[in-house]
Amino acid sequence: MKRNKTLIAGTILFSVLLAAIVVSWLWTPYDPEAFAGSSLEPPSASHIFGTDNFGRDIFSRVMKGAGTTLTVGLMTVSVGAVVGVSAGALTAYYGGALDELLMRLNDAITAFPSILLALVIISVLGPEKTSNLVISLGIAFIPSFARVSRTAFSREKTQNYVISARLMGAGDVRILAVHILPNTLQVLLPAVTIGFNNAVLAEASMSYLGIGVSPVDPSLGFMLKASQSYLFTAPWYAVFTGLAIVLMVFSVGLIGDGIKKSGRSE
């Protein structure tokens, strides 16, 4: 088998990031919330990413912040994927008027950029809570998952293995979850990686806009917002924080491409 370079590169990059996040739960070079030096120190041997306006170590804060961003991204994509994939699977499997209606509605909603949709939902729910941010972004991502999974499930449902499973007396839930779902992963997993990336980017944008942020456990987007005031005196603050987001989205994107490629070559 040909080696899948895209998948390998993505996995290596993401592992580096993930390792930094896991380590940050146990140890960071400095306490991310405490004064570790004078304010706005440029990068040096003791503070490799420099310090922020409160003299806190930016590297330690990026490690912590990446964890927050990853968590919010994962929670958001879980909300969107679980609801969206179930909806898509059920409508594809049972079909009928409800399927037609839901898909029309879906088409109308997917025309709207997800960040606009999330902005509208969060302004209804209340823009002060991170949980509302996760919910509104999650809802905004449901339609795209529903569409992908509907296509995949309706292709699989007429396959022989499904028919034979039904003849052997398997129930609908079992057929959907145990028999069909594993066969759709090739399509669903890249959709999940794309959804995760959109979630991370959307979360960063929303935090940057000051919506749905909490000063406890600041995410990378929140830190970028804070860094903007110091672009003149401390550009490294924004640059390193932003690069951490880029690394996360880039590596997950490569993994998604890699999975898609491995499907094509099989």
């Binding site: 902005l119 209804v124 990336n197 940057y208 860094s227 550009p235 880029v246 880039f250």
Partner: protein, 317 residues
């Protein structure tokens, strides 16, 4: 004409659904604006008086129809935050700024990505195609506001080519206005140029493999004539559809980019209105943005119908 009428009817239907959902969501879930505005210490009579003033005591369907009528008459009530100013007078100038920014971004995207995408498809080297997809990935991984921060830092602070935050309105000086908006427009355009080039060159590559392309070449047409006359014409439909989606995304990106460059547009106003819970303003902006998105896709459909005879034949049968 039948096709156009059908598209316009579906546009109207979509807008009806969007406005109804927006209106219901804001009037049912958002609580009582009168008591929010007056605070917790307000007397019940005061709250009741304000509810009357804001027209909140009328039944929901009546308020909905009055609100819809307001989009045509220009009377959308007053803002909750700026009590003496009408929603229309607050939104109109900001809409102009956002339209200017979006138009500029759109022009940049088309001017740069159309030739680049076609040329990129003609280039055959393997290194180049790897480079292209890596660049595309990277551009999609960078949040647009991070590009905005980098552009501010490099061109605004270090090189001093523009002065950050000093937006000039079109009415004062169109040239200075466009010059300032050029930087945010670039930030909006860059990721989309990458995507458009990628999409365009894969479409063109697919067309190049078709029989007619070989025929044209064998009849002695040069490769630039083949690419820009024959191939481009045949790949127009997916490109127009894609650009329609891009137009919708531009408006979403401008919400964030306006914040970075302190551009007093619709997006920046939407964000501050959400924070102040200024619902009449938020609702109006949401409907305008939705209209923009729907118009963009309808326009793309209509253009495709105009340029592609295959679609016309399909519509008749």
């Amino acid at each position: 004409m039948k096709f156009a009428a059908k598209k316009l009817a579906s546009l109207a239907l979509t807008m009806l659904i969007v406005t109804a959902m927006t209106f219901l969501a804001f009037s049912l879930i958002s609580g009582d604006p009168a008591s929010t505005m007056l605070g917790t210490n307000a007397a019940p009579e005061q709250v009741e008086a304000l509810r009357d003033e804001l027209g909140l005591n009328k039944p929901v369907h009546q308020r909905y129809f009055e609100w819809i009528k307001g989009f045509f008459t220009g009377d959308l009530g007053n803002s909750y935050k700026y009590r003496n100013q009408s929603v229309t007078s607050l939104i109109a100038p900001r809409l102009g700024v956002t339209l200017e920014l979006s138009a500029l971004s759109f022009v940049l995207i088309i001017l740069i990505s159309l030739p680049l995408g076609v040329i990129a498809a003609g280039a055959k080297s393997r290194f180049y195609s790897v480079f292209r997809s890596a660049l595309n990935r990277l551009c999609m991984a960078v949040p647009s506001f991070f590009i905005g921060l980098l552009v501010t830092w490099i061109f605004g602070i270090t090189l001093k080519w523009f002065s950050h935050g000093a937006f000039v309105p079109w009415s004062v000086s169109p040239a200075a206005s466009l010059l300032y908006l050029f930087y945010p427009a670039v930030c909006i355009a860059v990721p989309r140029i990458a995507m458009t080039v990628n999409m365009l060159s894969s479409t063109v590559e697919a067309e190049l493999k078709k029989d007619y392309a070989r025929t044209v070449r064998s009849r002695g047409a040069g490769s630039s004539r083949l690419l820009f006359v024959h191939i481009l014409k045949n790949s127009l439909t997916p490109i127009v559809t894609f650009l329609g989606q891009t137009a919708a995304e531009i408006i979403a990106a401008s919400v964030v980019i306006e914040q970075v460059f302190v551009v007093p547009g619709l997006g920046r106003f939407l964000v501050s209105s959400i924070s102040y819970r200024d619902y009449p303003v938020v609702e109006a902006i949401v409907v305008l943005l939705a209209l923009w998105v729907v118009l963009a896709s309808t326009a793309a459909d209509l253009i495709n119908f105009g340029v592609d005879p295959r679609l016309r034949r399909g519509a008749k049968g």
